[in-house]
């Protein structure tokens, strides 16, 4: 029914390169193991998760109040606060600030929100040079791709791919694959951009209502450098990023990198509260579908996400299908519950791109019941009539059979007989039976259990 390719179709493309799939899976599993080590070494980790979850639940339950509190505090600090209902408004506001500053060169630190709003193309189309300063982001920006992961945006690329990209765009030696040298090349290239930029755009990891400040976490320090050098700082945040008090922050900084990469803490956790003398600081608070998700009780908890990426690293489907197979800014299990909120029809296959194994739920540092929400989305999509007709009708038929023991018995006999009689080549023909592309069907036994049991009891009755 849906026009866009399904997750399965996009995964099949990824899977064609079996070696790369293995490498992708193993690389992310390595990150998951680093996370495990950090978590096992923190005895109070499960209590921290609960605390974080409670704080987020509480904040979401009074989001309007906390947003107002944040705005008032930020304004008092001399920060200019803007509100954007959707992506277009966000982009227009940012462009307006850049223009008012008379600027044409912008550096950006990593922000999934600006990706979500497609800010870069908008700025470029309006004559503003925008450079992603996070190394991974810069690599994929040069390649014209979207991030494939929220923390490791270029994790789908091998060092050979990066070498190739830098050779094409930065003039490095052809065939260079040494990560150290590649990083150095990027550093030199970015330094120029940092120095030239008039405006710095950053994401926001946490916003503190009590103080009106925003907190930005990076490992490369690129946000700090960009913001320190530029005259204007624009911080773009989703409206769910709030925490009530400064003292709440410690809970989250302890969880964030442990879950993300296994580090005890992010290298740079920077607080931006007021503009430096002679400079400007803006905060753009974006809705873009968030209040709609807040209004869906079954899916509200998805707004607790702190974008650590742990659910992606642990997801056995994500690891083998790559982030681009989700075709949504936030990929992986959490993306699969955020995306139907934006467009059910376009993303109808994503909640089905899971075995519901539950590992995502168990790693999530803010205890989002991810796999339960995936299951619930399936029901919503089914009720909305979004499922392919073949599935819809076969499930109705199946239900009719399964609610009637007589029909079921007859059906089972027919199925087993069918499997014995139908030639292997037919029952295993790919277009006919996807199960059989890589698997043998079970060998049909002569007798079902119920037949065996009925026989047993008739024998013992005699």
């Amino acid at each position: 029914m849906s026009q866009s390719p399904t997750h399965a179709q996009r995964s099949d493309v990824f899977l064609l390169d079996a070696e790369r799939t293995t490498w992708h899976d193993e690389t992310l599993w390595f990150v998951r193991q680093k996370r495990d080590k950090a978590v096992y070494a923190t005895p109070e980790f499960q209590e921290l998760r609960q605390l974080a979850s409670d704080i987020k639940d509480h904040t979401l339950s009074q989001l309007a109040e906390y947003l107002e509190q944040f705005e008032a505090a930020a304004l008092a600090n001399g920060v200019r606060v803007h509100w954007a209902a959707d992506a277009d408004e966000h982009n227009a506001i940012v462009l307006g600030i850049v223009r008012a500053a008379g600027a044409s060169r912008v550096v950006k630190s990593k922000s999934m929100l600006t990706e979500e709003c497609h800010l870069n193309p908008h700025l470029l189309a309006n004559g503003v040079e925008v450079i992603d300063s996070d190394l991974g982001e810069r690599i994929i920006q040069l390649r014209g791709e979207a991030p494939s992961h929220v923390v490791l945006p270029a994790i789908h690329l091998k060092k050979e791919d990066v070498g190739e990209t830098f050779w094409q765009h930065l003039g490095t030696e052809k065939g260079l694959t040494d990560p150290q040298q590649l990083t150095e090349a990027a550093r030199q290239h970015l330094r120029e951009k940092f120095l030239a930029a008039e405006v710095a755009i950053s994401g926001v990891n946490f916003a503190v209502a009590e103080t009106g400040s925003v907190v930005v976490c990076t490992n490369e320090g690129n946000a700090d450098l960009a913001i320190g050098l530029a005259r204007v700082h624009i911080a773009c945040m989703g409206m769910e990023k709030l925490l009530p008090r400064l003292s709440d922050l410690a809970v989250f900084t302890r969880l964030l990198t442990r879950s993300a990469t296994g580090q005890p803490i992010t290298t740079y956790t920077s607080h931006f509260t007021r503009p430096a003398p002679g400079k400007e600081m803006h905060v753009v608070i974006v809705n873009n579908g968030r209040s709609q998700q807040l209004g869906r009780p079954d899916f509200r908890a998805s707004l607790k996400c702190i974008r650590c990426g742990a659910c992606m690293n642990t997801c056995p489907v994500y690891r083998r299908s790559g982030g681009h197979s989700y075709d949504f800014t936030i990929p992986g299990p959490i993306g699969a519950i955020l995306s139907p909120n934006i467009d059910m029809r376009q993303h109808v296959s994503l909640p089905f791109a899971s075995t519901l194994c539950g590992s995502c739920t168990d790693v999530c540092p803010v205890k989002i019941d991810i796999h339960t929400q995936l299951y619930k989305w399936r029901q919503v999509l089914g009720a909305e009539g979004m499922l392919p007709a073949s599935k819809k009708y076969s499930m109705k038929l199946l239900s009719r059979v399964l609610a009637r023991p007589g029909l079921f018995k007859a059906g089972g006999v027919a199925a087993r007989l069918g499997l014995r009689l139908v030639p292997h080549a037919l029952s295993h023909a790919p277009g006919y039976n996807p199960w059989a592309i890589a698997r043998e069907l079970p060998a049909p036994p002569k007798q079902s259990f119920r037949e065996w049991y009925a026989h047993q009891s008739s024998v013992s009755a005699k």
């Binding site: 899977l15 096992y40 519901l356 089972g412």
Partner: protein, 246 residues
């Protein structure tokens, strides 16, 4: 104690030996379970596909079939989990509530309800345990690697208690096998790849007999093993214990 054997639809049709072994194993433990013949399925395939409304008549049929038993024991963690967790969309009559709590996975029943922590017998093989996600993370029958490095669980302990049995230590203790109900059809490529990776982990570490408490995962893995004719036997844990407990 009135105990009913709940035999999931695909076990009834394709793996009767698993249901027979479950029945006999329970008998050896002094429990006479009966098989109510009108049972069909728990409704999970439909619900899993986003059609839980269509599954309601099946849920009601399940409850009607099993409401008069103290326990409903099934050799499949996934189906048991479905009954316990997802029958919440029908009216919660006393019968529904009773069936939801009375439905128990076979080894959970043996360990938690019967209090049996060791089964006698000998099984001199290297056995690889496949933890099913619904049994492990859903029904909490084994420790999750997301929480703790300790590898422990009901089935693991019971297997380790058999004489001569060696347990395989895997690189990835509890990763999903990729079955996932209708997932294995709608995302056939990823599903197969996940299963192949699971099987490879077992082969790499010497598993001769691959086992578990959930026949659905095992059916998927067995299909992959047979396609590639790999040197692995796949057997439900009930078969192993029933054979060992002579």
């Amino acid at each position: 104690m009135k105990v009913a054997l709940f035999v999931p639809c695909y076990v009834d049709q394709f793996y009767p030996q698993v249901a027979i072994a479950s029945l006999q194993l329970l008998e050896k433990l002094g429990v006479r379970a009966v098989f109510p013949a009108q049972q069909t399925c728990c409704g999970q395939p439909m619900a899993n596909s986003g059609c839980e409304q269509d599954a309601k008549p099946v849920y009601h049929h399940f409850v009607e079939t099993f409401q008069d038993y103290d326990y409903v024991v099934g050799p499949a963690g996934s189906c048991v989990y479905h009954v316990r967790k997802h029958f919440d969309i029908i009216d919660q009559t006393p019968a529904v509530q009773h069936v939801r709590t009375a439905t128990v996975e076979l080894f959970d029943f043996i360990t938690s309800i019967l209090g049996v922590t060791e089964l006698p017998g000998r099984f001199p093989h290297q056995v690889g345990l496949h933890l099913s996600c619904h049994g492990q993370r859903g029904l909490h029958q084994a420790n999750e690697s997301e929480m703790t490095p300790v590898r422990d669980g009901q089935l693991r302990r019971l297997l380790a208690g058999l004489e001569g049995l060696t347990l395989t230590e895997l690189d990835r203790n509890d990763e999903c096998c990729g079955f996932g109900g209708t997932f294995c059809v709608s995302e056939a490529g990823i599903s197969a790849r996940m299963g192949q990776d699971r099987v490879a982990d077992h082969l790499r570490h010497g598993t001769q007999v691959l086992t578990g408490g959930d026949m659905s995962c095992l059916m998927h893995l067995e299909g992959l093993v047979r396609r590639r004719q790999l040197p692995l036997q796949v057997r439900h844990a009930a078969e192993i214990f029933n054979q060992a407990f002579a």
